[in-house]
Assembly symmetry: C2
Homo-oligomer: 433 residues x 2
């Protein structure tokens, strides 16, 4: 064939000329004289029209051999057609079957249970809703890289295989040659702090692991996290960066992925309201507000998912809850000089009940206070020797945070369960495919 | 202080005005009447000049308390000074010690052994050479993301925790709840192929793992790989994409990281020669050439590191070696219809002896041939059921490759050992810090 190959996303540039599009059949329909193929190629959806009395017999006959998920090359002229998905359709002159698909394709146009769909995840990815989520996930990822690149942050890849540091429970472990066990990192933060002393402002972007028996809609055993760490940022600078990042991500998806948001039937009016600055609510005030709303929470308790929902109900944008009690948070957070029962930290809660997407804090930069906290938490001091070195040799005010990628995708896509927000989810009972 | 804070990289915009720069001391020098502080903040190096008879006594006295790696805030007017590193210096009017550093800072301005430096990796990162490598690494990463984003590829994160698939030997394993063992992924490719059937053109970007007892300068147990996978690309399309990517990366680093390349004393004239297209050398021809150069290689052998060096010696750009014998390569590579002893694949060898940076192939898209290869290699057929599904339901011509990030960084930086090309290297005897 001498016609040029084209992606469906590029068809507006080809209106009026013949092209060949290669892809997979999603729907077939025929009246006996006119037939329709709906094709997907990963970049879009194309309606192809075959008119029997305008086609060679073998082309018309080829239509009858097609099934859902057949891989085909269709050739014809592209024309604008407002009623077609994507706004264009093709008048077919040629049809070639590249790869047949037996009629037992597991995912049929009907309702399937989620366990079945997860078993077929490698095929489920082909569904329009899953394609839309993954394209939005990518847009968010690129938006994050661009945000930090423009601000001269350095991307730093922290190790996955680590000696025993970080949060202690729920670690996956593996034998590591003659070095004993290695543990899969739950966070890159401690390494990020070392890198911030070298590079000033950095961010990590990688998979993190929790061997926890959680079966909620907000937990995966393997998930991706972005963890910026900034020298000379205090807790207020830290929150300003968080709200700038989150509003940047949302704006970018609204601007560049409108058709994917439409595919997901996302109410974008809610996303349009995500504009910095976000409200800051002191933990102590949050407790009083929650008690007023009937929660049994007491000062000192961590916020549960229900408490979070009660709090965000009053807001349309994400909110920060600031300065939690020391006992509810990690050992490395800096003591609050205005109230030493608390630490200089914040969670960022997404609106619409999507819950926590960010946890951040100013880091304890006092060597002796940090050492004391390590002892109090009964952590292995030897393993933290290198981490303490950041406080020994030229200690510096610094802050950072972790934003959970799948939780952010779930919120922006309006997807209640994060298992659809990563290509191949890993959960307690799910390691395949 | 009311002077604005500034990063060293931004000082050209502040010439003639007072600013405060925060960072760490790298060098100190004093004549008794005039003193110099060389400061680093991760974005650059700044020479600060203190003149005793122009300063309050307490500022001059503060200089005497400084040591290597002290964290300080210096305030003063920025002026152009061609002889200073970075082209600017500061006339200091104020000096504040933010974080002292004891005189036992482990890394002194002298030669240290590499094992010692790796033990101190968290501090070694602060050295100018390491900062330059990490900034170039980031530039390469962003160049890769931008390259694929502009071409409408979708970034897909493939799982790290997998059931037993992919290459078989050298797997790290971990207990996975009641699911038996999970294995750390050696490649994301097989998942990438499934994603290509959904999204057309994709790339992965993540850590991969090899539990191999290799102690060469080109092996890590944990390294980062980028693996594009493209529907409807044959092996020739695949190589064109590879040379476009590699030349894009090199051009970008040359354009945007000249000072880092200068810090590394990299001979950029060699990098300037990296322009697509790259020579393609058939494996069979390579064997004949090598035999002519005295190698003992026989048709059917894989190329060793010495063979690779002999071949690249004739070229200034990277080269492709194409269509290796089937036995030397992985089971999923497509049989070469012109010579069924071989497969449609390529390695890309960097010039200057840096060796293989890319391995790529057209994938076997014939279900029965792939199944036969799985049996021949005695791989567990059950574990590959989902992978075979790509060939069952609408099989399609597709190709992909994997580019090793650290090897690419090592080549572009001119660093012989890849252990300096990742923030925290993991090797057989190295799991700390």
């Amino acid at each position: 064939m001498s016609t040029p190959n084209a992606l469906i996303s590029s068809l507006p540039q080809h209106v009026g000329s013949p092209v060949t599009v290669r892809g997979w059949v999603t729907h077939l329909r025929s009246s006996g004289k006119i037939a329709f193929i709906v094709l997907r190629d990963g970049t879009g959806i194309l309606q192809c029209v075959l008119v029997k009395n305008q086609l060679p017999a073998e082309v018309w006959a080829g239509f009858a051999e097609l099934t859902q998920e057949s891989c085909v090359a269709v050739t014809g002229e592209v024309r604008a057609e407002a009623r077609a998905p994507g706004g264009h359709e093709m008048g077919v002159t040629g049809l070639e079957l590249l790869g047949a698909s037996p009629v037992d394709y597991p995912i049929q146009p009907k309702e399937h249970g989620v366990d079945f769909l997860l078993d077929q995840r490698h095929l489920w990815l082909r569904a329009p809703r899953q394609v839309a989520i993954l394209r939005i996930r990518h847009e968010i990822e690129q938006a994050i890289h661009d945000f930090f690149y423009e601000r001269e942050f350095v991307h730093v890849d922290t190790p996955i295989l680590t000696a025993a540091i970080g949060e202690r429970s729920g670690l996956f472990s593996t034998e590591y040659f003659d070095q004993g066990n290695a543990y899969l990192a739950q966070t890159g933060q401690l390494y990020g702090e070392a890198a911030a002393a070298a590079l000033g402002r950095i961010y990590t972007f990688g998979p993190t692991f929790r061997a926890e028996k959680s079966k909620t809609r907000r937990h995966l055993t393997e998930f991706w996290m972005i963890e910026p760490e900034m020298a000379f940022y205090d807790t207020h600078d830290n929150m300003r960066l968080q709200e700038d990042l989150v509003s940047h991500i949302v704006r970018r998806v609204l601007d560049r992925r409108p058709s994917e948001l439409a595919e997901l039937e996302r109410d974008v009016s809610m996303l349009e309201k995500v504009v910095a600055p976000f409200p800051r609510i002191d933990y102590g005030d949050a407790v009083i507000t929650l008690q007023g709303k009937g929660s049994a929470i007491q000062w000192g308790d961590d916020l549960g998912a229900e408490d979070e929902s009660l709090l965000v109900a009053d807001y349309h944008s994400p909110i920060f809850i600031c300065n939690y009690p020391k006992e509810a948070k990690a050992f490395y957070m800096k003591e609050n000089p205005d109230d030493p029962r608390t630490v200089l930290c914040n969670d960022c809660l997404a609106p619409e009940g999507y819950g926590e997407i960010i946890g951040g804090s100013q880091r304890e930069d006092d060597h002796d206070k940090l050492l004391q906290r390590i002892h109090e938490e009964k952590l292995p001091v030897d393993a933290y020797g290198w981490y303490l070195d950041q406080r020994k040799y030229g200690t510096f005010v610094h802050s950072g945070f972790g934003i959970g990628l799948e939780r952010t995708v779930a919120w922006i896509c309006g997807t209640p369960h994060i298992r659809e927000c990563i290509p191949f989810p890993r959960m307690m009972h799910r390691l395949y495919p």
